[in-house]
């Protein structure tokens, strides 16, 4: 324990940051992005592809970058090097950078200059800089040597919320200041005859009803734009601002944002604004919205840049994402809705149904049983056939495939089905399948080899028809292969079908919301001797069928696997097979990822779509491997991208209840629908995707509430990174195998994110997100970390069980598996399998109905989780949850995480419980003891022994107060009043004497003590029941003013070293073991409102890593 005198204490250095992007600027063909105190430099090429060149670290110390000002070069040559002034808060620094020949270099940087007040705007005036400061003053500053040249205040020293400097010399310098009074003050600093004599404002402009957050001046047109708290953007005609006394006229008042507007930028032909609603709007100078860019998440867009020559707008969000958008001017070129003008005297009857064969042929059927074709190349309607049996009720579906195979199918209310070759309608084949109405039709296509048509008739019978074409191509053959039987329900028909690769099974969805698996050739299975099982299934399901059905020659095959009511009562809308998974969509607003394992369907993960889209109609996989979701959002048809959170296409179609069809091919996507008795067709060239580029993926939309490291994946040299991704100067420790840490973050934005943090590149890759929670996620806990194929397998990878919990007393358990995938930038892929979920209110509802007892749901939040692994491990772990209603609840996870059960609860604390932490005590010849520590808002800690909780007749739990309630815990073994108010961090470390326990509180204090565990001798135990251990506090120390705010992260690294993190943005090392903890050093970090910290040793070469999660994520490392 005695540290030698020459011991070098660790010092943390920042390694990686994911913070809101607060500054963006285009310089030639480069983009500068400000993130915290760092600049990210991207190079742009004409395809809109961007590549990160370099991160320039720590330009602004503890300040955050709010803007860049590039020094104008008289020769106009910014392609080789640039002098950039970087400012934010009260800091200013000038840096000279060069980027010739695709290589980035920092040539020189000035000192970091601290101003007396906040810098709202900066402007180069030849070699010096003018700065607009927080209380309405302007200074002239020499940024090279760091010297104040002039300081001119305004007579009105109000607090500003924005400022804009205009002019290229001090003499003509003009400031437009946005004051707290919501006015704009225009004044001229050079009017001060004597230095620092206040200057009166020349003009005061009123108009906005809230504070002005951003301003932009367009000299060529004499326009000024302002963005405000009142959710509007105003355009002012100001003429030349440098001339005093000019007239200011408000020529546009643009309301379009649904929240505060943070940024505005005037371009030659456009006005771009962005705000808290995460929308970037492109306006004309006349105040018309031309384009809207949606996709950022969370609290809005913070930075805006434009590249006028390339017509790009680049936005940086609070979600730390950066996106590039294309300015296209008015409307959407390449896409539009056309009315196909069906109504005509020559075409009587009203349209009943529409479908698309490929993206250029529309088929429609009328209530007089006439089938029409509209060919986009011919641009006219053509009658294909007329069959009066198909009047009044007719289903119409074209076959899938780029050209729809040239086939479509019709069905009527009398059980007739007609398969029509579009080019030779006379060769249509008719079948009489059922004695009653055909409820639905769907196609299933396997490559170009097998084409099936499924038709649902009365009583849940689905006829499976096989369609083959004659070699001549003129005739088609339709044969009934088999019949399937759906499980009984009120609306008993199927809605969709698809082949499960390689093709032995069909996946179907039904109107009752179930997903079913049928053998595609059941007769073949029967021949192989497997038929008995299928028939048994049929018999079980066919109980409701009448005897007449049994007499039919064909057997009705039941499903071999079924996920009942997966999508709820509104039904399944589509099934798609891709990449080894089955995806089903439903009208419950969700889509499921499913897996077929051992001939059985298994749900893997439920995914939600964008808010308000409750009718998910389909899922498509694009050429680049990304999926898009089709759905109806109120009365709009929407194509939505889960990756970019962007509505790629929106069509005002009136909703999904009328007949519609969607088709996408490489050339175009098409959506046809019926409206006002006509067929309307929306087409977009280039398919579903949009050319917008995600420069950097977003992390979380809201604050991170918890961060946990799962494990490390070691990649040997054979998995080396491609050379262009290597940083120019390698960090020490990056030689040898490369290490990738896998970290889980969860957030107020209801999602859980799995991140890969390679040690070599200082970058972060979001592998996947889990969005099962309905409210904020506050805690995650991890256990059972292993490798995918067991310890023998040398292939890199990682598996772990994760339990997450948060608002609305909701808890989820899932399994993650990280494997190698060379196709992704991180070269890792993460597969998530959802295992179990639990909601307290459902638990209570369940009790209530059984016991007739009313317990009101008090909106309980889970604040923290701890996993306690039992002996033997196959019992499954216990999960302790700190709850806001004053309880600590204990759950038992059984069946490798598939069953989550509430075991016991205690209301010992009677106050909101903030933290729980579990640890084990191992003594020789003794059973391993499981201990739990809980801490509440009153600053008290309670220690519990959980070792015997599951033992029969254990004294650890008491029977419930009322039957039906969970059991209650025995009183705690020990309570310690550690702090005066809430405990926000808790950690323990086993030592020789027992356990070192440390806690940090809201009052900024630390409390450290040694906990001794005294176990009663085995033979003392009477009657088999084990006695609880005796806990004592041995040595107790308190540091009252360790931090200036909540201590939210605490980790005991060794018996002599501890690290703490606080909302005051300091990461502090403490020396332990010599009485009171003593301060070693501290580092100022950049993440505000840090809610959690996790620390772990990486390798002897790399040292320790520490992740801080709050309004962003920052990773520090230090050498031991």
């Amino acid at each position: 324990m005695e540290a030698p005198e020459d011991y070098v204490w660790p010092r943390a250095t920042s390694e990686l940051m994911l913070l809101p992007v607060t500054g963006l600027e285009c310089v030639g063909e480069r983009l500068l992005a400000g993130e915290g105190p760092d600049i990210l430099v991207y190079s742009l090429d004409f395809g809109g592809h961007l590549r990160m060149m370099k991160r320039v670290q720590n330009l602004l110390g503890h300040y955050l970058i709010h803007g860049f000002r590039v020094r104008p070069e008289p020769k106009g040559d910014l392609d080789v090097e640039a002098m950039v002034a970087v400012f934010g808060s009260k800091g200013l620094r000038v840096v000279k950078i060069s980027w010739g020949q695709g290589r980035f270099r920092e040539l020189w940087r000035s000192g970091l200059w601290n101003m007396s007040d906040w810098i709202w705007d900066a402007r180069w005036l030849e070699g010096n800089m003018a700065l607009a400061l927080g209380h309405n003053s302007v200074v002239l500053y020499d940024p090279v040597i760091g010297c104040l040249l002039q300081d001119v205040p305004c007579t009105d020293r109000c607090t500003l919320s924005a400022a804009c400097l205009v002019g290229d010399t001090w003499k003509e310098l003009t400031i437009v200041a946005g004051a707290v009074s919501n006015q704009l003050l225009i004044w001229y600093p050079a009017a001060a005859l004597v230095d620092s004599k206040p200057v009166a404002p020349d003009r005061r402009v009123s108009g906005h009803m809230g504070a002005v957050f951003s301003m932009s001046y367009l000299e060529s047109k004499g326009l000024l734009a302002t963005a405000s708290e009142d959710r509007s953007v105003r355009i002012w005609k100001v003429g030349d601002l440098r001339v005093p006394g000019g007239r200011v006229q408000n020529i546009g008042h643009c309301f379009g944002h649904s929240a505060r507007v943070w940024q505005v930028k005037l371009l030659e032909n456009y006005l771009v604004s962005a705000g808290e609603d995460c929308v970037c709007l492109v306006w004309s100078h006349e105040g018309e919205i031309l384009q809207a860019f949606r996709g950022h998440q969370g609290r809005g867009i913070r930075a805006l840049a434009a590249h006028e020559r390339q017509a790009w707008v680049i936005t940086g969000g609070d979600d730390s994402g950066i996106r590039l958008w294309h300015l296209v001017g008015r409307g959407h070129p390449g896409s539009g809705v056309s009315a196909l003008c069906f109504k005509s005297p020559s075409r009587p009857g009203a349209l009943k149904a529409v479908t698309l064969a490929g993206s250029w042929r529309v088929l429609a059927v009328t209530d007089s049983g006439v089938l029409y074709l509209y060919d986009l190349e011919v641009k006219c309607w053509e009658q294909l056939l007329e069959d009066t049996r198909f009047q009044s009720y007719c289903l119409l579906e074209a076959a899938p495939g780029p050209e729809g195979f040239g086939l479509c199918a019709m069905a009527n209310g009398e059980g007739h089905v007609k398969v029509v070759p579009i080019n030779t309608p006379t060769a249509a084949v008719d079948l009489a399948l059922f004695p009653g109405k055909v409820h639905s039709l769907s196609w299933a296509l396997r490559g170009y080899e097998e084409l099936l048509l499924l038709a649902s008739g009365p009583g849940g019978v689905v006829a499976c028809l096989e369609i083959t074409a004659a070699p001549s191509g003129k005739a088609i053959f339709v044969t009934e292969r088999c019949r399937y039987l759906l499980p009984p329900s009120k609306q008993r028909w199927h809605t969709c079908s698809a082949f499960l690769p390689p093709g032995d099974f069909l996946v179907c969805g039904d109107r009752r919301g179930s997903v079913l698996l049928f053998p595609s050739r059941p007769a073949l299975l029967q021949d192989l001797g497997l038929g008995g099982q299928a028939e048994a299934g049929a018999g079980e399901l066919g109980g409701g069928g009448d005897s007449g059905e049994e007499e039919t020659a064909l057997t009705e095959w039941g499903p071999v696997s079924i996920l009942r009511s997966l999508h709820g009562k509104q039904g399944v809308t589509s099934v798609t097979c891709h990449g080894g998974y089955v995806y089903s969509t439903g009208r419950d607003g969700a889509y499921y990822q499913l897996l077929v394992r051992g001939g059985q369907l298994q749900p893997v993960l439920r995914r939600k779509c964008c808010r308000g889209m409750n009718w998910v109609a389909g899922l498509r996989v694009m050429a680049d491997g990304n999926t898009v979701i089709l759905g109806f959002h109120a009365n709009e048809f929407v194509v939505w991208s889960p990756r970019s959170h962007e509505k790629l296409h929106v069509v005002h179609c009136g909703g999904g209840h009328r007949s519609w069809a969607f088709s996408d091919t490489e050339a175009a996507m098409a959506f046809a629908y019926l409206k006002d008795g006509d067929v309307l067709l929306y087409r977009a060239l280039g398919g579903c995707t949009r050319p917008h580029v995600i420069l950097r993926e977003s992390l979380h939309g809201r604050e991170i509430t918890c961060v946990r490291r799962v494990g490390t994946i070691t990649l040997g040299p054979e998995f080396e990174l491609p050379s262009f991704m290597q940083p120019e100067d390698l960090e020490p420790g990056s030689e040898g195998p490369s290490l990738i840490d896998v970290v889980i973050t969860c957030s107020e934005d209801t999602t859980i994110c799995i991140l890969a943090l390679p040690t070599a590149t200082g970058s972060a890759h979001a592998l996947t997100a889990v969005c099962n929670h309905i409210s904020s996620v506050r805690a995650v806990a991890v256990w059972g970390v292993g490798t995918p194929a067991g310890p023998q397998d040398a292939r890199p990878g990682l598996t772990a069980h994760v339990v997450s919990a948060g608002g609305r007393a909701e808890m989820h358990c899932f399994n993650i598996m990280v494997t190698l995938d060379p196709s992704t930038p991180s070269r890792l892929a993460c597969h998530v399998t959802h295992l179990a979920s639990h909601r307290l209110d459902e638990d209570w509802d369940c009790q209530r109905s059984r016991r007739r007892m009313v317990k009101v749901d008090p909106e309980t939040r889970y604040m923290c989780l701890a996993v306690c692994e039992l002996d033997p491990p196959d019992l499954g772990p216990l999960v302790a949850a700190a709850c806001s209603d004053g309880a600590v609840r204990l759950f038992h996870l059984q069946d490798s995480g598939r069953r989550l059960q509430l075991l016991a609860e205690t209301f010992h604390h009677q106050r909101c419980v903030l933290k729980v932490h579990s640890f084990t005590h191992q003594a020789p010849n003794q059973r391993r003891r499981l201990l739990l520590c809980s801490a509440a808002t009153d600053g008290s800690l309670a220690f519990w022994d959980l070792t015997t909780v599951l033992d029969h007749g254990s004294a650890a739990l008491e029977p419930p107060a009322e039957p039906g309630l969970p059991s209650r815990w025995a009183p705690p073994c020990l309570t310690v009043q550690a702090h005066s108010c809430g405990v926000n961090s808790l950690h323990t470390l086993p030592t020789r004497e027992g356990h070192l326990v440390a806690s940090g509180s809201e009052d900024g204090s630390l409390h450290v003590f040694v906990l001794a565990v005294e176990l009663p001798e085995q033979h003392e135990a009477v009657g088999g029941a084990e006695l609880a251990p005796q806990l004592h506090v041995l040595e107790e120390h308190s540091v009252p003013c360790a931090h200036a705010a909540h201590v939210t992260g605490l980790h005991i690294l060794s018996p002599s070293l501890m690290v703490s993190a606080s909302i005051d943005q300091r990461l502090t090392f403490w020396r332990l073991g010599h009485g009171e903890p003593t301060f070693i050093n501290s580092t100022v970090y950049h993440v505000p409102d840090v809610a959690d910290m996790d620390c772990w040793p990486v390798s002897p070469e790399f040292g320790h890593r520490c992740a801080l999660g709050g309004q962003g994520l920052e990773v520090y490392n230090w050498y031991d």
């Binding site: 609070d318 003008c341 641009k379 909101c912 705010a1045």
Partner: protein, 332 residues
């Protein structure tokens, strides 16, 4: 979420409505008073940034007119619904005229207590919000130097962020005793990590002349006394106030509280008066916000408007011309 969900999550929000307070912050001042006896011997109190007025409500009840001795002046930039026993000034606290008006209402006497519960509308950018809050506190301090009697007390909201030690060092210049206090009705998990600076014993440095024409700027880090990342920092003692047996603001309580009172929904006491976004909301309600031009809003009569690769050579059939003549569009 229903209208009761906030009641379930936040017991003080609910109690404030039930007790007629305009905001839950009333409990914070009451609990601060419990700990520090702020109102003892106070006859003249100033409430800066008073809207919506819950602190003025508390002040008027505790020291206000019923006894005829106390005077409460409430200052805010925004209009506030009137309160009995409270004199309101709608004005800017950075203006000298406001200070003079306060003194005039106290008939030339300085105030015993100045409180400020103001916070700027948070933008979510933490450094900006912390700066703005600090400026508000310093502006409140600046006007307090004009109106506060020596030995008087000043209570203001602070955000305990990165640079809070700079504010502590500034406050220590003017007061003999500075503490950081957190009422139990203020949440632990509150996003803005708010607390209150309780400054007792106003004692300006010798030769200090109050000057409202210059803003008080915050201090900068000092290599000796108040280091950015060193061991020496000015962290003032922290006091948690309020009874431990009082309600826990972080805890979620059932709607039927333990004291047996039956839950009844109470609407908010005082809705906000003319927020800046009022016009935007009105326009939205009427559906008159500017909307982006959607593809289907551009009238396209025929598919000819689709760009070249798809536009096949036109066939002059009767049907095609009929299509063009019909002149239908879909902008309806």
């Amino acid at each position: 979420m229903g209208r009761t969900s906030k009641d379930k999550r936040d017991v003080y929000y609910r109690l404030a409505k039930e007790n007629g307070w305009r905001a839950r912050s009333a409990f914070k001042l009451l609990q601060l008073n419990e700990e520090f006896q702020l109102f003892q011997g106070v006859t003249r109190a100033v409430d800066l940034c008073a809207a919506p007025g819950s602190w003025s409500q508390v002040l008027s009840q505790k020291i206000g007119s019923p006894q005829g001795s106390g005077h409460v002046v409430a200052v805010d930039l925004q209009a506030m619904a009137p309160l009995p026993g409270v004199l309101q000034i709608q004005g800017d606290i950075t203006q000298l005229s406001t200070a003079k008006e306060i003194i005039r209402h106290f008939e030339g006497c300085p105030a015993d207590l100045v409180v400020c519960d103001g916070a700027p509308d948070v933008t979510g950018l933490h450094d900006v919000d912390e700066y703005m809050q600090a400026q508000l506190l310093l502006a409140a301090l600046n006007i307090a130097t004009h109106v506060l009697k020596p030995g008087g007390c000043f209570v203001a909201k602070i955000f305990r962020g990165r640079d809070v030690t700079l504010l502590y060092s500034q406050l220590r210049v003017f007061f003999s005793n500075v503490l950081c206090a957190k009422p139990r009705s203020s949440r632990n998990s509150s996003i803005a990590t708010e607390a209150f600076a309780v400054c007792q014993g106003y004692d300006p440095p010798e030769g200090f002349l109050p000057d409202l024409t210059k803003p008080l700027l915050d201090h900068s880090y000092d290599p000796d006394l108040n280091q950015l990342d060193g061991p020496t920092r000015i962290i003032v003692p922290f006091v948690a106030c309020g009874d431990l047996s009082s309600y826990d603001s972080d805890r979620s309580y059932p709607l039927d509280l333990e004291d047996g009172s039956e839950y009844k929904y109470t609407p908010p006491t005082q809705p906000p008066i003319s927020p800046p976004y009022q016009e935007a909301c009105t326009l939205k309600k009427k559906g008159r916000l500017a909307k982006e031009i959607r593809s289907q809003d551009c009238p396209i009569n025929t598919v000819n408007t689709l760009p070249q690769p798809l536009a096949a050579p036109r066939r002059h059939t009767l049907m095609a011309s009929e299509v063009e003549d019909s002149g239908m569009n879909c902008s309806a």
